[in-house]
Amino acid sequence: MSLAVTLQELKESALARIALATSLDELETIRVEAVGRKGVLANAGKEMAKVAKEERAAMGQLLNAVKTAIEAALEERTGAFTAAALEQRLDAEWMDLTVPAPGVKPGALHPVTQVQRYLEEVFTSMGFAVLSGPEVETEWHNFDALNIPPTHPARDMQDTFWLEQGNLLRTHTSPVQVRGMKRLGAPLRMIAPGRVFRNEEVDPSHEHTFYQLEGMMVDREVSIAHMLYFMQTLLREIFQREVTVRLRPGYFPFVEPGFELDIQCSLCGGAGCAVCKQTGWVELLPCGLVHPNVLRAGGIDPAEWNGFAFGLGLTRLAMMRYGIDDIRLLQSGDLRFLNQFR
């Protein structure tokens, strides 16, 4: 039997086995037996020496062609098996992502923290420093320095929690005006958000613990016109819309003149409704030009410097923003309430 015939048979037999193979392993066995270093094709190659010289080139070509054909068949089948295996794996890896993700969901910041932070950013962008002051305050900082002498009826207006040694729980964030002036000197722009206390019975709209944000600006020239401009700008940022404001007289010993600032009722647009008690206006914040006695208490000469100051009710703003109708929820620690603000 000529080598040519043998090669042809080898090829056919290998191709037939490849076609029938059912696994990658089987293919590998075929590969080793057919085209491996010690395989049948290699053995056949050894026969080449016996082939007549003039036929050798042709026989060599045939050998290579057989090898290439077998290898191509192997590769094709291997590829098919690999693809099938991958497909099977992928199919097996079907999963359900509607199952909740493991791990803990993020918590929530308190609504007052969120409103406070928003305001701090607005004020910082307008060049205001953000200051802190102690919640346990001296009587001097809370009253005397703010032009509220011991006999002043304004001390009646604020029901104070008194502590030992004449200290008290600050009834407003205004004492930070004086601390801020001492720390920063003039000119200055500052706010002081924080917790304040009033000796009041708690009900859905009253709390003995609540939050304010004090603001103050001191400079050479500060007028009512400047304060109006600033308040309009600020309130536009807070409410994210144009607001119409009005000033009317208000009495606070630490400012002179003192004002109540009202904003036009957003519900009725000023026409008058139940929310604004038919007046078209909603009282928003007290403000005024800083009383010279307060500037003096802060170590600033009122002959050279002027200022305005204002107080925002953070608690009230938070209640307005989130539609909270019971102030007691804020200090309740009730996660069913607090988790709504994630």
Partner: protein, 796 residues
């Protein structure tokens, strides 16, 4: 404070402003109007009538009356009043009227008879509070409206906005504002009286600081009876209860001039001298409200030879008060120190119409004006009354009216727009300030006495007078010129906020808790009462202490929320308050934002976080909190605490050490504190965290040579801590050891029951070469030796 629009209009003749609009004007220029309400609008449909005939109705106590309504004709009404009789003048409510409370009056069958409207009792038409019979009038023409009893409006002004304005506690003061606002003339209701005759009563004032002025009049031939109905109606409209003619006049004058007065029955006063003095300790006064008050030496009293008869400026005494049989009256009109009245009134918890006014610092020049007005009205309400002797007036020297220099340029810069000189002068004069020219652009302004007691004293006060009267809405907003400089940084605040964000991102929800604690709760947590700052006037006894720890409230949060949820996480950042304040560094200083120590208690911000779970053995929660601690304090280490507090699980309590300092504590709640499940609590000192937080990171060159790893497994007793074994290995390491990482621990077969295997992965390397096998082995051998020397076995 309620104002009658009719009354104001009488004092500003010709005023033609709608009451609601008047309220708005007052709000924008003077004081906050809380509302304007029509008072007795139905009086449009009430007429004076004469009862001409009364027939009894069988089987009813009602009578069938025929009334003469003048031009409106004869009408018939059914009336149930016992005083309904022929001949009297009465008030007839016409059919179609709607009384207060929505009660509609029409033609109706009553007791079988048709009644056209009704005859009114005092309380039905807002004249007084009488309901025993119908009103009877002494004069008038049938068919006409009731004289002086016409529809009114009540303008309610927020008392708080009148705190600084003693003059606005009377209609005359408010009318002055209205006149100034509208540019109209103000009428002074006080008559000129010439006070002839010698005083018949002596007044001795112990301390003229407390009572700068005491004026009085004595009257005889007084007849006590009801006031004229128009007077009763006026008082009723502004919420004052009509009592009797003399008393009603004193109340009327108080509501008009803001000066309280008091009428004594002169025959019940003992002796000829009135003493204004401090009360003797324990002295008692039975007051007109029929309460008895025990006074201390700080209260001021009006006394006679027999003792205290009235609490000065607050309330009169019952024994010397006006009664039906009073014939002679001593009328007091005095001025008292505001602070003293305020103190007495708040100590007695007795706020009266008089005390509210005196504590605003009334004008001492007003006492005699009030007497003159009372004398005028007494003659109306008690015909035949005679004054005995002249004016009694004991008066300390009065202060000169303050004079303020007002520079117009300064004024304009304060307001932010130019106000013409003429306008400034006009406004100040309309408010009865004295104005003199004092050179170019300067005015000399004299403050009227009723504004000088405390309200107006400096030029800034005048800015308010001008500003409010030109109208703040006339000032165009103007951007301020300010330095273009970034604001001073507040790194502590930023740190705290970043902390909040981090903790929330780890799954914790922020709570706000009260700063107060009850003594009972403090005791439950083993915090001694003495270490707390006490609240001297707590609202409730459960709020008597300032918290020295956030934990008790956090535990309360756990208890509360465990009722609704099986698992949750929460946190708070808030201040602890510690007594040891004076001179102490740290807390108060950092928190107060200024360098001064004010002797305040230390206020230290703390982070308290908690994990609660109904299920499980509690370890997961503790690990979560450990992780949280590592997030906020990278590299923090736990070390077992030597002693557990009563509320801590004795085997699950650790200190947190960071950069060598103890910065907090981590523990599981003792089962007795948390019956619903497992509660783990983390408590960290935020001030310390801020102080110790590392400065910004610096870049280190990446390692050029590869590192190698090997594992070590150590057999230890079950309760040996992984951290202890690890630090043993770390200590042995040397500079080639780059990391020793815990891999796992294992108990069970084939290990003995009382031992466990702890595996670590050690990473070694060098900066300048790749470690040779012998070098790695040397490190490993060293570690194995150290482990064995410590008494552990190596697991191969």
């Amino acid at each position: 404070m309620k104002f009658s629009a009719n009354w104001i209009t009488e004092l500003v003749p010709g005023l033609a402003v709608e009451p609601r609009e008047l309220g708005t004007l007052i709000t924008t220029k003077t004081a906050e109007c809380e509302g304007t309400e029509a008072y007795a609008p139905f009086l449009e449909q009430v007429r004076l009538v004469r009862v001409v005939d009364v027939k009894a109705i069988e089987g009813s106590k009602n009578v069938y009356a025929t009334i003469d309504a003048g031009p409106l004709g004869m009408k018939n009404v059914v009336c149930g009043a016992p005083n309904c009789r022929a001949g009297i003048l009465a008030a007839w409510v016409m059919p179609g009227a709607e009384l207060s409370g929505g009660k509609k009056i029409g033609k109706a069958k009553v007791s079988g008879h048709e009644s056209e409207g009704m005859l009114a009792a005092g309380d039905e038409i807002g004249v007084n509070r009488e309901h025993d019979g119908i009103l009877e009038f002494s004069e008038g023409t049938p068919g006409e409206r009731l004289a002086g009893i016409v529809p009114d409006h009540v303008i309610e002004i927020d008392n708080k906005s009148l705190t600084h304005r003693p003059d606005l506690w009377g209609h005359h003061g408010m009318a002055r504002e209205v006149a100034a606002i509208t540019g109209m003339a103000l009428r002074d209701p006080v008559p000129q009286v010439s006070w002839d005759g010698a005083p018949v009563l002596k007044v001795e004032i112990e301390d003229t600081e407390l009572c700068p002025r005491y004026s009085a009049l004595v009257f005889e031939n007084v007849t006590i009876g009801p006031s004229p109905l128009w007077l009763q109606y006026r008082l009723e409209a502004i919420g004052l209860n009509p009592i009797s003619n003399i008393v009603d006049v004193t109340n009327f004058v108080m509501a008009e001039l803001a000066q309280p007065t008091h009428a004594f029955d002169a025959d019940l006063l003992k002796g000829e001298t009135i003493y204004v003095r401090r009360a003797r300790a324990g002295e008692r006064v039975r007051a007109l409200n029929d309460e008895e008050y025990a006074l201390d030496e700080q209260a001021l009293v009006i006394a006679d030879a027999g003792g205290a008869e009235a609490i000065a400026g607050v309330i009169g005494g019952r024994p010397t008060g006006i009664h039906e049989g009073t014939k002679r009256v001593v009328l007091e009109s005095a001025n008292f120190q505001a602070a003293s009245i305020r103190k007495t009134s708040s100590r007695l918890k007795l706020r009266t119409d008089a005390s509210m006014r005196f504590e605003k610092a009334q004008d001492p020049r007003n006492t005699v004006r009030a007497l003159a007005r009372c004398w005028e009205l007494f003659q109306v309400v008690s015909p035949g009354i005679r004054m005995v002797g002249g004016l009694i007036d004991n008066c300390a020297p009065m202060k000169d009216a303050p004079v303020i220099r007002l520079e117009l340029d300064w004024l304009n810069r304060k307001i932010g727009r130019v106000v013409e000189r003429g306008e400034v002068v006009r406004i100040l004069r309309s408010l009865e300030f004295g104005v003199e020219e004092a050179g170019a652009g300067v005015l000399t302004v004299t403050v009227p006495s009723w504004r000088a007691t405390k309200d107006v004293s400096i030029a800034e006060d005048l800015v308010e007078e001008i500003g409010r009267m030109i109208g703040y809405s006339s000032i165009p907003p103007q951007p301020p010129l300010v330095p273009a400089a970034p604001p001073a940084a507040s790194p502590e605040r930023e740190f705290q906020y970043a902390l909040r964000l981090q903790v929330a991102a780890q799954g914790f929800t922020e709570v706000y808790n009260y700063s107060f604690l009850s003594e009972e709760r403090a005791a439950r947590f083993g915090f001694a009462e003495a270490e707390h700052v006490h609240v001297l006037n707590p609202i409730a006894s459960d709020q008597g202490l300032m918290r020295v720890s956030l934990i008790p409230r956090i535990v309360q949060n756990i208890e509360d929320n465990a009722r609704h949820m099986g698992e949750f996480r929460l946190f708070e950042i808030g201040n602890e308050v510690h007594k040891d304040g004076a001179g102490a560094a740290g807390g108060a200083r950092a928190a107060s934002g200024d360098g001064a120590s004010d002797g305040l208690p230390r206020q230290i911000p703390h982070l308290a976080a908690a994990v609660f779970s109904k299920e499980g053995d509690g370890q997961a929660g503790l690990f979560e909190l450990k992780r949280l601690a590592e997030v906020v304090a990278p590299g923090v280490e736990v070390e077992r605490a030597d002693e557990a507090r009563g509320f801590e699980h004795p085997k699950r309590v650790w200190r947190l050490r960071w950069q060598g300092e103890v910065v907090g504590r981590l523990f599981e709640l003792h089962p007795s504190q948390c019956e619903a499940g497992r509660g783990a609590v983390l408590d960290m000192d935020v001030e310390a965290l801020y102080r110790l937080k590392p400065a910004g990171a610096r870049h280190k060159a990446l390692r050029r040579f590869p590192v190698s790893e090997f594992d070590l497994s150590v057999l230890t007793p079950l309760r040996e801590e992984v951290g202890v074994v690890r630090s043993l290995i770390v200590r042995q390491g040397g500079e080639q050891v780059l990391g020793v990482e815990f891999v796992r621990q294992y108990t069970g077969a084939p290990l003995a029951e009382d031992e466990k295997s702890v595996s670590f992965r050690v990473t070694v390397g060098a900066a300048d070469h790749t470690l040779a096998a012998e070098e790695i082995t040397a490190v490993r051998e060293g570690m194995i030796e150290a482990v064995k020397a410590a008494g552990y076995q190596l697991r191969m």
